[in-house]
């Protein structure tokens, strides 16, 4: 019997080839993040230095947020192909093979992590050229943290696709969750700008802790409680999501 690692590798390769065959996705995956930098950062420039805005260069505040958005987007897209694969019978066929259900899920998760890493590195490169301060140690940990976030989003999206089975329902759930999740994480605008009740709601959002940790790491503060909490919360959510996604792939039979 082929092992879990080999099977995950086989599914990862399959998913990566699938993405590489659709150049449109690569273009939007790379250009959209850069557009964020080019179009949104100038807006924030006037806020920077104002009340309740974190100190530092505007890109130092903004780049970690873009990275979180890219991680979220790379992961949350996983559910759509799952529904196409349900409709074309691919998943049914794979369920009748001895393939590990965890490997089926991880193939997509690993592909999505790549789909986060590549545009993420582009953003760092472009951001650095425009004044973003790179802290190498923090950055490595930041990418590790956000790879975990991508995994959590990807597994959740796959599980939702398998459970909902319809593009319309999946789109409703994902877009419905996107606004509160991203806003209440303080990704684009820091939550410190908002009233107290908004900050309380933010603390209930698991993504908030990832964003806080991301800002800390991007600023080069590695050994902080914020970072530890960010890794803890994101790690637990990712583990739960992978467990849920694997169960969803199992379907009615184990």
């Amino acid at each position: 019997m082929t092992g879990l690692a080999v099977q995950s590798g086989l599914f990862f390769r399959r998913k990566l080839l699938e993405t590489l065959r659709q150049p449109v996705w690569i273009i939007t995956g790379l250009i959209t993040p850069v557009l964020y930098l080019a179009l949104f950062a100038p807006l924030l420039r006037s806020l920077a230095g104002g009340p309740a805005f974190p100190p530092g260069h505007v890109l130092d505040v903004f780049v970690p947020g873009i990275l979180v958005l890219i991680a979220f987007g790379a992961g949350m897209g996983a559910g759509w192909p799952v529904i196409w694969e349900l409709e074309s019978g691919v998943i049914e066929r794979l369920r009748v093979t001895p393939a590990s259900r965890l490997a089926l899920l991880l193939g997509t998760v690993l592909r999505d992590i790549v789909m986060f890493l590549v545009p993420g590195l582009v953003v760092i490169a472009v951001g650095a050229a425009f004044g973003y301060h790179v802290h190498w140690g923090g950055l490595a940990l930041l990418f590790l943290l956000l790879a975990l976030l991508t995994a959590a989003c990807s597994a959740t999206s796959s599980a939702l696709g398998l459970k909902l089975r319809q593009i319309g329902s999946l789109a409703a759930v994902v877009t419905g969750a996107q606004l509160p999740l991203t806003l209440l994480a303080g990704i684009l605008l820091p939550l410190s700008l908002g009233p107290a009740w908004l900050r309380v709601l933010g603390h209930l959002n698991p993504m908030y802790y990832a964003v806080q940790a991301a800002r800390s790491l991007a600023a080069g503060s590695v050994a902080t409680g914020t970072v530890g909490l960010g890794f803890l919360v994101t790690g637990v959510v990712a583990a739960l999501a992978v467990w849920w996604g694997t169960r969803a792939y199992q379907g009615a039979m184990s």
Binding site: L10, R14, R21, S88, L94, R165
Partner: protein, 339 residues
């Protein structure tokens, strides 16, 4: 003394219900089957009869509510992982990855069943030749025609040389030539020792392809046997002869034929004599004899062999061609969703 050969598929008391629109619909209501290794076995029945649900249970995709099923020695409920290693499955939807090439599909399937990269490539080449996919295998599957895709999907199902190959409505949507081609492939597989277990709602498919058939309706097996056995057990040949004669003369012919032991029933309408007979040849001779003795010219004559539809009609009072009650179809739809 050697033990009796193990059946390829052994099913006992299989049951499965689904909830559809708030009510429980029983899709499979106690199915028993035993399929010896090396035959082509067909589940024949209308839409919603429970064929696909049964197949989905046997292929580990669905859990039954009750009963047991053993495939090639492995228990479907206790050891689904072992069952998966011993079976191949070609679903109704096909399941080839359309964005990938034929080769990529085949190689991935081989690797998932534990073949090494080298062995998978060798087996892939073998199947490309058998299924006439040489010229296509490097192209994405979405560019294939329906028949080409079906050939690839069957190849995917047997990449690991399974003991039992399950196919759900394998020829639906295929043109006659591709259909004949697939039948031939399945016969070759059977001749090579693979047990082939399929569902179909086509009478001719069950009749001409299958060695044995279970006719199912409302989740039950209502008749089981070889197509010839079933037809002989349940039905007779029908002869129709149209003659140019007055109703009085035809009535006289009918009275004479009614006494013939080869004739089991008889009717005259619009100048046509219809006879059902257990022995068509003898009955046909008797009809012509009676007509020529009265010098009645015949205009047309035909013999209809019994079909499996007659068997279905006898058992259910409905024709298989228009069977499939709304409730049963709702149950089947629920099965799709639940799966």
């Amino acid at each position: 003394m050697s033990a009796p050969p193990m059946p390829a598929v052994q099913v006992t008391g299989l049951r499965k219900s689904f909830r559809a629109a708030g009510a429980a619909v029983e899709a499979v209501s106690g199915i028993d089957l035993s399929v010896p290794a090396g035959e082509i076995f067909g589940l024949l029945g209308p839409n919603g009869a429970g064929k696909s649900t049964t197949l989905r249970i046997l292929t580990t995709l669905l859990r039954a509510d009750a009963g047991s099923a053993v495939i090639a020695g492995a228990d479907v409920f206790r050891a689904p992982a072992q069952v998966r290693r011993r079976i191949g499955y070609v679903g109704q939807l096909g399941g080839a990855d359309k964005e990938a090439t034929g080769n990529e599909n085949l190689l991935l399937a081989g690797r998932l069943y534990g073949l090494s990269a080298v062995d998978a490539a060798r087996r892939c080449a073998e199947l490309r030749a058998v299924f006439d996919l040489e010229a296509l295998a490097g192209r994405p599957v979405r560019t294939y025609s329906g028949g080409q895709r079906r050939r690839l999907e069957v190849a995917l199902g047997i990449m690991h040389r399974p003991r039992v190959l399950f196919l759900d409505e394998p020829t639906t949507g295929l043109d006659p030539q591709n259909r004949a081609n697939l039948w031939e492939q399945l016969r070759l597989l059977r001749d090579g020792g693979t047990t082939v277990f399929l569902t179909t709602h086509y009478l001719d498919e069950a009749d001409q392809l299958c060695d044995r058939v279970a006719i199912v309706d409302h989740g039950r097996v209502i008749a089981l046997g070889s197509p010839d056995e079933l037809k002989q057990r349940y039905s007779a040949d029908t002869i129709a002869v149209t003659a140019e004669a007055s109703p009085a003369v035809l009535d006289a012919v009918a009275r004479e034929l009614a006494g013939d032991p080869a004739v089991s029933s008889l009717a005259v309408e619009h100048g046509t004599i219809r006879v059902t007979a257990t022995d068509a040849t003898r009955a046909m001779a008797a009809v012509f004899c009676a007509l020529s003795r009265r010098e009645v010219p015949t205009r047309a004559a035909s013999v209809a062999r019994p079909s499996l539809d007659d068997v279905f009609l006898r058992e259910t009072g409905r024709s298989l061609r228009d069977a499939g009650s709304p409730a049963a179809i709702a149950g089947a739809a629920a099965a799709e969703v639940a799966a």
